[in-house]
Amino acid sequence: MSVSVQREAFDVGNEIAALTGNKFDIGAVASFVGLVRNMNVEHGEAAKVSAMTLEHYPGMTEAALEEIVTEAHVRWKSLAIRVIHRYGRLEPGDAIVLVIVASAHRGDAFAACEFIMDYLKTRAPFWKKEEGNGAEPARWVDARDDDLTAAARWEKRE
């Protein structure tokens, strides 16, 4: 089970240990954790964020993440990959997403980990709704052009 979509928090150390334990050919483990920030610079002068709620498309989410992980396995020499993405209501400092890639050498691990994050940002069906200071209603987060650009980098290499 390399992909999980869940409400619950995760522990990075436990997840790395579970992925790499008893495998002695792993030399490199690259990982990424995405966290809720207390501001959104897209909305004017760094609008305050007090919480956010992640909605997703059950079924398609898991399938999209599995497909991205499979693509990473095809492109790089990875030995093990783990992706956890949370949904529901989260507060600043809470972890949203975890990607771990284990491989023999660090180049493959870093590249596959960054690729998964970039693809996930533009292909996995999650939507964020942010709560501000309470004075105005929660707002849906806009997709970022930066994320499209980041994902497009990997297309050119094919």
Partner: protein, 84 residues
């Protein structure tokens, strides 16, 4: 034919519905035609033809406007994704 429709995020809120079962006329045979068919309901539904950025998934995979829709399909409409 009958399909299952799902709406997510800001579209779900604008439509006031998260989805529905729907019987389709035989001439509504692809995603583009389905969007037009739904937009004809008026008001918030017009976003389905007017929003450039709106995405569609057919049986849980992202598809373009030409994708064929057949009996039993699950079709979802939603804004660009913002996970991660």
């Amino acid at each position: 034919m009958t399909i299952k429709l799902l709406y997510f995020a800001s579209l779900r809120e604008a439509l006031g519905a998260s989805g529905e079962e729907m019987a389709l006329p035989a001439d509504v045979a692809d995603i583009a035609a389905l969007r037009k068919h739904l937009a004809a309901r008026g008001d918030a539904w017009r976003a389905l033809t007017q929003s450039q950025s709106l995405r569609a998934a057919l049986n849980q995979r992202m598809v373009g406007p030409q994708a064929a829709v057949v009996d039993g399909d699950e079709v979802a409409f939603f804004p660009p994704v913002t996970g991660g």
